[in-house]
Subunit: 448 residues, 2 copies
């Protein structure tokens, strides 16, 4: 039995004092008791413990070119010109580089308040578009990276068959991620055999024709009826227009009418919705995956969070392209967008947002990491910042999100009860950093 005693902790119902936490050998919480005396020999944790945020949307390899596309191209830059550059990068990365980049990213995530991650993984094939000898080669590199970093993982192998609505043939620069449903389900089986929490991701309606979508959903449901299903949807206006031209329906409208959308589903971005789509999506029980820093970086648009909350909708946070890797910054950007759009303050409150993102992130991950309560996994972090530590817990968390003094305020992180960050340091960080820098240097050379 592992135990610790926290001065302050954010529980699903709010802040509590003198909280005794205990978990079993699997890392599952067995006791979360506020106002508890400290038993002899149990470690005391000063300050504030909060649940780690599940990062519900990641393309790990993109961390290696964060910051490298912030220069002007020949034409007006947009999501689509960014994607062209990203594809060049995606075309060059090797399995070794994938593992190196992901390892460093996952260490960064632990330092940034995330304790688990959902990988929306589409680079299945080699640079020539041929399957690797082990078809799960690239996916297993992500598994290795997550294990080296000690972060929780849900892997979502991506089906990507077409370059546009109406089963438009794939582009040459999409050859690494084209695959058949059977090929994808074999990767899923391999990952499950490795003990990895695995779902699937039909990439988007533009990349997955209706028949393939149905086959994929039937296939994954037969393998695992509770497997998470993630899809990019309604991120860009052009995508909405193309879907309307193809089907007469908006993307989420089409999906809700043609697929069994339910709480297994994570609708990633869902930026451009109308009220009927919000109503129906909330009723489905699906969670919406918001990626504020990426959506701002790519100029996607602002999600209307209050309208979604009014329908009772669940949501969580992803760092997606990893321009930023900082849970607090994602929540800050999300809230600032709402304030600017509504010309109000405190549309959301830090503690409510944090708990909502934990619950929604856990749902998207299909893993029991939904906060500090018995039966859930012991995933949490300790915040410390000498300039904030004298504040009351609610002010303390609000200041962390909106007015932090240091970026390394996440000092300790526990994943399934195992401490992976000590005083801001991760034992694997020096090796991870060197691996990342070497991989990025080779990738930049390859692209010259």
């Amino acid at each position: 039995m592992n135990r610790l005693h926290a001065e302050h902790a954010l529980l699903p119902e709010g802040f509590a004092r003198e909280v005794l936490l205990a978990w079993d050998a699997d890392g599952t919480l067995t006791t979360v008791q506020p106002d508890a005396p400290r038993p002899a020999g149990v470690e005391r944790i000063q300050g504030l413990i909060v649940p780690g945020l599940p990062n519900l949307h990641s393309h790990a390899f993109q961390r290696a070119f964060a910051g490298l596309t912030e220069t002007r191209g020949d034409t007006q830059d947009s999501f689509w010109t960014w994607r062209d550059r990203m594809y060049r990068f995606a075309g060059a990365i090797t399995p070794e580089q994938m593992e190196a980049v992901a390892t460093q990213l996952y260490v960064e995530m632990l330092r940034a308040g995330y304790t688990s991650v959902c990988e929306f993984h589409y680079l299945h094939r080699d640079g020539d578009g041929r399957p690797y000898a082990n078809r799960a080669e690239m996916a297993l590199r992500l598994v290795a990276a997550a294990r080296r970093a000690g972060i929780g993982l849900t892997l979502l192998p991506v089906l990507y068959q077409a370059s546009g609505f109406g089963a438009k043939p794939p582009r040459a620069d999409q050859k690494r991620f084209i695959n058949g449903v059977d090929e994808l389900l074999r990767i899923v089986e391999t990952l499950r055999a490795h003990g990895v929490r695995t779902g699937v991701a039909p990439h988007s309606l533009r990349a997955v024709p209706p028949a393939a979508l149905k086959d994929l959903l039937d296939g994954i449901t037969a393998l695992d009826a509770s497997a998470p299903i993630h899809i990019h949807i309604a991120e860009q206006i052009q995508e909405v227009d193309d879907c309307l031209a193809w089907s007469g329906a908006r993307p989420l409208q089409w999906l809700l009418a043609h697929a069994p959308v339910d709480p297994r589903w994570c609708l990633v971005h869902a930026t451009h919705l109308n009220d009927a789509e919000r109503e129906d999506a909330a009723r489905s029980g699906a969670v919406i995956g918001l990626c504020p820093s990426t959506e701002a970086n790519l100029g996607d648009g602002l999600f209307d969070l209050p309208a979604w909350r009014d329908k009772g909708g669940a949501w969580g946070i992803g760092s997606d392209s990893h321009a930023s890797v900082d849970a607090a910054e994602e929540l800050r950007l999300l809230e600032y967008g709402q304030r600017l759009a509504r010309r109000q303050r405190n549309v959301g409150i830090a503690q409510e947002m944090w708990n909502a993102a934990v619950a929604g992130g856990a749902q998207a991950a299909g893993r029991p990491v939904a906060g500090l309560a018995p039966g859930r996994q012991a995933d949490f972090v300790r915040l410390a910042d000498a300039m904030l530590d004298d504040l009351a817990p609610a002010e303390r968390l609000a200041s962390h999100v909106f007015a932090g003094h240091r970026r390394d305020a996440v000092r300790e992180a526990w994943v399934a009860g195992r401490k992976v960050l000590h005083a801001g340091r991760h034992a694997g960080a020096p090796a991870a950093e060197q691996g990342f820098l070497a991989a990025r240097a080779r990738l930049r050379e390859a692209l010259r």
Copy 2:
């Protein structure tokens, strides 16, 4: 003669290599020579030197309650409910606390990429609304703080006479900042006698009736024809509506028609402008003071920067309420707002934005801190981040702004040629932090 030799530097015309910098005993640059050999005995600076950003809008005392108003009030929160809370705080602060809070803030600014600051200073009187024995008491506390921190300073004593358009009588909670034009000009004279770069700030059109505005402008021009003049304008829709109701004109429209707006002027926020106002304001030569983190935190709205740039308008950055103290984050938020509004990427580019904000900030400060060129003050910082240092300079700065790995990437800072930050450390930081924490603790008690 002081000299150093930089591997890379951002000059007004772009990035340069092997740059020899030299400055005189006053801290004025005498040589900025790219592609120069390193003379024997001259210190070599590895990595990237960029000019420090002048922070053109600061209310220093507000740093002590950053993060403390991110909780929901009884009614829907807005700029105006935030202001009520801020006034309670402003009513309680003592001169000693002001100095303590400002000292810590200014040390933070140096670590965050700012090398000078414009204080928009309105807390002139004591808590009962009586002048201090030395009417410049509070202003001199800011001067002392800036000198302790080693940051450049422009002080803008604020005239605040009315609580609304039409010379509405002041509110009880505005008694610390009410003052007459003569009283204000005496504070200006005192500051000038102390060698402080001093301008004035008519707070806003709602707080300064037309006759007082004219008297103030006549008075400051007689004292110093080049003194900076700052004013809050068009931050809130309600202010625009109230001005229209009062005068039939929008705030900036009224100001441009009734005051000699010229390059001395800094129009702070100017969020809600129409195209005619932009046209006329740009022609005046005034600089617009953008405060992206505060404008987001307060739900003001988004400034249309491309439309202002199209008119050739100058702009700079202020951290204002200091929810954030981070030059890179301000530029990131500014650019992300433009991307979200336009659904484009790379509306601005980091190096162009950085240089524009330096030039505009220097204009607003009325001080020669407009970048790395002979005749300008030697205000610059060195950026270093092991995860970014292998990149080319343009990628390096873009990554610092959009995808930084560490917040303390500003490792050294020089102000007027004097090194005030060494390897991320400021000699005065420990004392400044303790002073800040003690002051905030007493303020929070006073407000209980």
